[in-house]
């Protein structure tokens, strides 16, 4: 009997040009396992605009539109409108964008698609900075992180602003489904992809995507670090279905140092700063748990 608990079929083949240990490779792989072959992708400028390979190579088993950096939401609406005109209903339309392309330059078009109720899934693979261009800060870079544009020189100009709360922003649009997923929890990931596929309207999936060069981490530890993000409650796994929140995987409540110490981008932080981050993580988790208790 097979011990594999997720679909064995592959729609993303080896041969992507991603870096060793790239989390985004796995995000794509698990997503397509959940969605199946009748899927159309639209992808803006981001690592995954490069990863399918140079023309005429294409490492995915599904068709893919390349769109302008800020245009993923609009591209989704265009694809869905064309399918509607052709009477095609059984195809899942997916926008697959990085964090910069989502929380920064692509936020307007994404908001438009959500407000229009475009029937599509928007997946943000979040490596917490502009990684394709070489590690510049984005609105999704967490407080305290080093990037090339938040350098830690003598003035310690690390990122001083908190990470933009994209899940709340998307929820505020009244969308039918939003979920966080981790490459360390593929069963949970695939289940959520299937749920998103079955809901009608704009669905949002936030995937934490460890980036070895950007996070200054060991490329062999992608899964371990992704798991630590959940277990330290830095990245809680939950879903919001028609406004009701449910935590889908309890973290172990490990101290945040266990996560931060795996990555060079946090190396400069003082004990005091780490404590501050721990407090922030604790209060975010408390808010989630209280909300779950209210709505559960």
């Amino acid at each position: 009997m097979s011990r594999v608990t997720i679909p064995e079929v592959e729609h993303a083949y080896p041969g992507s040009t991603g870096c060793p240990g790239c989390g985004a490779n796995l995000v794509m792989r698990y997503l397509l396992k959940g969605l199946g072959e009748r899927t159309i992708l639209t992808i803006p400028a981001c690592c995954w605009a490069v990863m399918p390979g140079y023309w005429p190579s294409h490492c995915l088993k599904v068709p893919m539109v390349y769109c302008a950096f800020e245009a993923t939401g609009a591209s989704l609406s265009g694809i869905r409108a064309a399918l509607d005109m052709k009477g095609v209903e059984d195809v899942t339309v997916v926008g697959f964008a990085g964090d910069g392309g989502t929380v920064d330059i692509g936020l307007q078009a994404l908001s438009g698609a959500a407000e229009r109720g475009t029937d599509a899934i928007y997946v943000m693979y979040d490596n917490e900075a502009y990684m394709n261009t070489g590690i510049q800060r984005s609105g999704a870079t967490p407080w305290g992180a080093w990037t090339t544009t938040t350098p830690v020189g003598s003035s310690r100009d690390y990122k001083r602003e908190p990470k933009k709360d994209i899940m709340s922003i998307m929820e505020a649009h009244g969308i039918p489904y939003a979920a966080t997923v981790s490459v360390a929890h593929p069963e949970d990931f695939v289940k959520k992809a299937k749920k998103a596929k079955d809901a009608r309207g704009l669905k949002f999936i936030h995937a934490l995507s460890p980036c070895p060069p950007g996070w200054k981490m060991n490329p062999m530890k992608t899964i371990e670090i992704a798991r630590l993000a959940v277990d330290t409650n830095v990245f809680p796994l939950y879903e919001v279905e028609n406004g009701r929140l449910r935590i889908t995987k309890k973290g172990k409540g490990l101290p945040i140092e266990d996560y931060l110490s795996t990555q060079g981008r946090f190396r400069h932080l003082t004990e005091e700063e780490v404590k501050r981050m721990q407090e922030s993580v604790d209060s975010s988790l408390k808010a989630l748990e209280e909300r779950e208790a209210r709505e559960g």
């Binding site: 140079y54 302008a68 609009a74 265009g78 409108a81 399918l83 005109m85």
Partner: protein, 395 residues
């Protein structure tokens, strides 16, 4: 069926006659009544299409591009700042070889704010790989949309087209317009069936990364397509004339130029005024003519060389200005005539920016001036007409 309608309604009726299937649109003055009318057509079921109410012009064109990749016939409309915001995505459409058709209601760029006629917005997009058709009348707007789809969707071409109507002068002025019979349009313009489109079960990337040893071939093919479009525009117009009894003169529409001593080159609605001035001056025995730029892209090189061989003076009227150079029509015509066997005396006149009226008086003044230029030779300096503080040229 003859109806009295504005240029904007002519655009909407053109898109409807062409059976546009996906219409993403964002409102901007003075384009709004185009998309309002189309929303109404879709809502009443008169047009079977998806109207996508996007949140910006950038998204309007991005949605057109993606829908077109799936093989849908797409249409949108915009103006001035909306067109400028689309700039990036205009190139996505042309470089992906997608036959998107769009009306641009040509309007001035701010600041200072102006919602009136001016060609700066359209001219600024001349390098985006779109065909550009300037229209003189509301009928021409409607007819050109239908013809544009046929040209754009031709197998060897597959490029987008911009139909340009002047703000308010056409967009909000009513004229009698013949709305062609739908069956005749359907037989003239078959449904869109591209050779390559995105299909489920055919995993392909549309717009993949290419290396320096691959990119130039893509652009070279775009160049060949635009070159081929020159002949195709003329042949499609000929087919259109046979089906509907109307035509507009190809890429460069000449009026009374065969025996003209001087020609005034202009584009858009002002051509109508120029025609009346030509008639008036002809009645006085002056050999003047009009050469109306109908297609700015592809540019009518051969047509201008032919005209240059017949006239001694060529006045070029630009309703826009490229700072640091001159009017765009003027510099491009100059370039086209460099190797012409015979070059006329030339002068550039700048008029009508921000919706300022270009009156018959102003046009008569241009003709008088260019007739003098035939003796004196070309004037290298563009002349700004009817501007406060400058000497007024009046006949």
């Amino acid at each position: 069926m003859r109806k009295v309608m504005t240029g904007n309604y002519a655009s909407a009726y053109g898109a409807k006659a062409a059976r546009a299937e996906v219409i993403p649109a964002y409102p901007i003055t003075p384009q709004t009544s185009i998309v309002e009318k189309l929303a109404e057509f879709v809502s009443t079921g008169e047009l079977k299409a998806k109207f996508v109410p996007v949140e910006s012009e950038h998204s309007a064109m991005a949605a057109c591009v993606s829908a077109s990749i799936l093989g849908a016939r797409t249409y949108t409309a915009t103006s001035s700042h909306g067109l400028a915001l689309m700039h990036e995505v205009l190139m996505w459409a042309s470089n992906a070889r997608l036959p998107v058709v769009m009306t641009n209601v040509s309007r001035a760029m701010a600041p200072p704010w102006s919602v009136w006629a001016d060609h700066m917005d359209s001219v600024a997009e001349r390098d985006t790989g779109w065909m550009q058709f300037f229209c003189e009348s509301n009928q021409e707007v409607l007819d050109t949309i239908i013809m544009a789809y046929k040209v754009c969707e031709s197998r060897g071409i597959m490029l987008p087209a911009m139909i340009i109507e002047d703000a308010f002068i056409l967009s909000h002025t009513s004229e009698p317009v013949d709305v062609p019979d739908q069956d005749t349009v359907d037989s003239f313009l078959p449904s869109y069936d591209p050779e390559i489109k995105l299909e489920i079960g055919k995993p392909m990337g549309f717009g993949s990364l290419v290396r320096p040893d691959q990119y130039m071939e893509f652009r070279y093919k775009s160049m060949l397509a635009m070159r081929e479009a020159r002949d195709r525009i003329v042949s499609v117009e000929d087919e259109f004339r046979q089906a509907f009894g109307r035509s507009y003169g190809g890429l460069l529409d000449e009026y009374m130029c065969d025996d003209a001593e001087v020609a005034l080159v202009a584009a858009g609605s002002v051509a109508g005024t120029v025609r009346t001035v030509v008639d008036k001056l002809r009645a006085k025995g002056m050999k003047v003519g009009l050469a109306r730029i109908r297609a700015f892209r592809p540019f009518p090189f051969q047509e201008f060389q032919s005209l240059a061989g017949r006239v001694s003076g060529m006045a070029v009227l630009d309703r826009s200005f490229t700072h640091g150079a001159a009017g765009a029509f003027f510099t491009e015509i100059q370039g086209a005539l460099y190797d012409a066997p015979k070059r006329p005396a030339m002068k550039n006149y700048i008029a009508g920016l921000g919706g300022r009226d270009i009156t018959p008086d102003v046009i008569e003044g241009i003709f008088e001036d260019i007739l003098v230029r035939c003796e004196r030779g070309s004037d290298p300096e563009p002349e700004w007409l009817d501007v406060a503080g400058l000497p007024r040229r009046r006949s």
